[in-house]
């Protein structure tokens, strides 16, 4: 595996008043890696991710994303990342085609590039006939897959996914992960938060956050070995039980 680091974080912290949402986390993500960011609800996953995306100002610590500093160079970071938030973020009153055009357009793709992109994207998702369908009318699973494809429509270096498969059936989740693998094989680094432990097994490396700290970090196989567990579920339960903080 290449050792080029696309994300580095060193003692990155975020406080809201006295509440320490993210507590001195340090990690590195390699290029092309699928990096799983695990943790219970309220462990601080989303906050950490928002800091890396330039949506939230860190309280202390250092971090770079795609080689740019999260304090000063957020606009350069934004050109190089894709982001899919927990909340569904396509325009429901626009059609699939219009959503693709909008998101591709704001990242500076030309009309020709947009046409090519939307053709290949729709083909891959098997949605060619639905280009003119309003997003509002699509089933949730379709929307999630579409949102992911649109998040990487501008071929970013890194894509951040915040619980992308919440509320989606197992088959669609599987299809969704196929899309993630494909993006990864195209050289896009995938940073994904989840609390489905079967999904953790799909990641190259995972970190497990407990109460704002990273308590474990490594490949799923080695984590299981370290904690003498058969599944990631067990690893997670062992660590998460120590949590003081609840939702």
């Amino acid at each position: 595996m290449q050792t080029e680091k696309v994300i580095t974080a060193k003692n990155l912290s975020k406080k809201f008043g006295h509440f320490v949402a993210v507590d001195h986390i340090s990690f590195e993500v390699n290029k092309g890696e699928i990096f799983g960011f695990l943790g219970a609800n309220g462990a601080g996953k989303t906050t950490a991710m928002r800091m890396l995306c330039g949506l939230s100002m860190p309280s202390s610590g250092e971090a770079t994303v795609a080689g740019f500093d999260v304090y000063k160079q957020t606009e350069q970071i934004k050109k190089n990342i894709g982001y899919m938030s927990q909340r569904f973020s396509l325009y429901e009153d626009l059609t699939i085609g219009e959503n693709i055009r909008f998101y591709a357009g704001i990242y500076g793709l030309t009309d020709k590039q947009i046409r090519e992109k939307s053709d290949s994207l729709l083909k891959e998702l098997n949605m060619q006939e639905h280009k003119k369908t309003l997003v509002r009318e699509l089933p949730l699973g379709w929307k999630q897959k579409l949102a992911f494809s649109i998040a990487i429509v501008h071929d970013p270096a890194i894509v951040f996914l915040d619980e992308p498969t919440g509320g989606v059936d197992p088959i669609t989740r599987r299809e969704f992960w196929n899309l993630i693998y494909e993006a990864s094989s195209n050289g896009i680094t995938v940073f994904v938060t989840t609390h489905y432990m079967d999904e953790a097994e799909y990641c190259h490396r995972v970190s497990i956050m407990v109460d704002g700290r990273i308590d474990a970090l490594g490949a799923p196989a080695s984590l299981k070995k370290d904690h003498a567990a058969k599944t990631m579920d067990e690893v997670f339960l062992q660590l998460a039980r120590k949590a003081v903080r609840s939702e």
């Binding site: 995306c53 330039g54 569904f88 909008f102 357009g105």
Partner: protein
């Protein structure tokens, strides 16, 4: 530029796709413009008059006839006593009571002096005030007539009579609609523009798409402009609809140039929409932004000089009116419509409104943050 084009395309698509928005934008102002000017009339008519005539003389009858024939009063009650007359006011049968004392005629003839008594129901202050003023005017006229009758030899007129004749410039017939319609149109355009602008960015916050915008390389000014321009176009279309109605229904043709109105309106709308967007950047829900915007536009409209002249407001209120963009547009509308003012005549208004536009929009851009603290 391309980003802006993409943003505009998206906004316009969203607005045009919602059939309700188009209906709200055009049908409601049309109806309001057809209804409001008929109701918003300063002239008081149909004042119900009660008379207590203790005199029953030729002079007293002549006075009552004169009042009723003015067209402002309807004789509704003819009571025998003051008490009965007052009861009629209490029962809301009449608005104003005129009491003619006994020996009205006699004292008028003999002592050349008589007293009348007027009681007005002041629950509706405007009606009471104007009604009393009308009656006093009519009595004054009556007084003159009586004197003229008696003074057969005018050169012995001990009291010189000064009569004032007036002519009303720019609105010779004192047609209230000519005065009110342009103002009401300004009010409608303002309300529609600012309310829609206020709810728009918040809507993206509510549905969560704002995150996706914030994580993209879109610049803040581009984003605000992308929101501003579509509503600017729509508000100008509403203005056009209103001007067409003013012309076709009320026959109001501006003495000045339509272009002057549009030139000013273009800048004015930037200011009002900028204010709406500014509210939008502060609010967390559409409900918040709508309520605040409603509250502000209500104050703006009431203190704009539309209903009451700014000149008659107390000093502190005049200052507020000067800080109110709506008052400038109403003034400009009336100046151009009635007086035929040109761009050069309204240059101070233009400078002021330009200031508002820059102020609100800069604030909106600064307050819109792509990253939270």
């Amino acid at each position: 530029m391309r980003t802006l084009k993409i943003l505009l395309q998206k906004e316009l698509r969203q607005i045009l796709r919602d059939p309700a928005i188009i209906r709200i934008l055009f049908i409601i102002p049309t109806i309001q413009l057809l209804v409001l000017p008929f109701a918003a009339d300063y002239e008081i008519k149909n004042i119900d008059l009660g008379v207590v005539d203790h005199d029953h003389s030729a002079y007293s009858r002549k006075l009552v006839d004169k009042i009723v024939s003015s067209g402002y009063f309807r004789l509704k009650d003819y009571s025998a006593s003051y008490q009965q007359g007052l009861d009629a006011i209490k029962k809301e049968k009449t608005d104003i009571l005129l009491e003619i004392p006994p020996q009205f005629e006699r004292s008028l003839v003999k002592e050349k002096e008589a007293t009348l008594f007027i009681a007005a129901n002041a629950i509706n202050g405007v009606k009471a005030g104007l009604g009393s003023a009308y009656i006093q005017g009519i009595i004054h006229d009556y007084n003159q007539e009586v004197r003229m009758q008696w003074l057969q030899i005018p050169r012995f007129n001990s009291q010189p009579v000064i009569e004032v004749t007036s002519s009303d410039w720019y609105n010779p017939n004192m047609n209230y609609k000519v005065f009110m319609v342009p103002g009401i149109l300004v009010m409608l355009v303002t309300m529609i523009g600012s309310t829609f602008a206020a709810s728009n960015i918040v809507r993206e916050k509510e549905i969560g798409t704002i995150e996706q915008i914030n994580v993209s390389p879109i610049q803040k000014a581009q984003f605000i402009l992308g929101k501003l321009i579509p509503f600017w176009l729509i508000a100008l279309m509403v203005l056009t609809t209103g001007l067409i109605i003013a012309r076709l229904v009320y026959g109001i043709v501006p003495v000045g140039h339509y272009l002057t109105i549009y030139a000013f309106a273009s800048i004015y709308l930037l200011a009002v929409l900028g204010l709406g967007l500014l509210l939008s950047t502060y609010a967390q829900t559409q409900q918040q932004s709508m309520l605040v915007s409603f509250f502000i536009t209500m104050i703006f409209n009431l203190m704009s000089g539309l209903y009451t002249p700014i000149e008659s407001m107390p000093e502190w209120a005049k200052i507020i009116a000067r800080l109110n963009p709506v008052s400038y547009f109403i003034e400009v509308m009336r100046l151009v419509m009635l007086k035929g003012s040109s761009l050069a005549d309204i240059k101070y208004h233009i400078v002021a409104i330009l200031g508002f536009a820059v102020f609100f929009n800069t604030w909106a851009v600064l307050n819109y943050r792509k990253r939270s603290g």
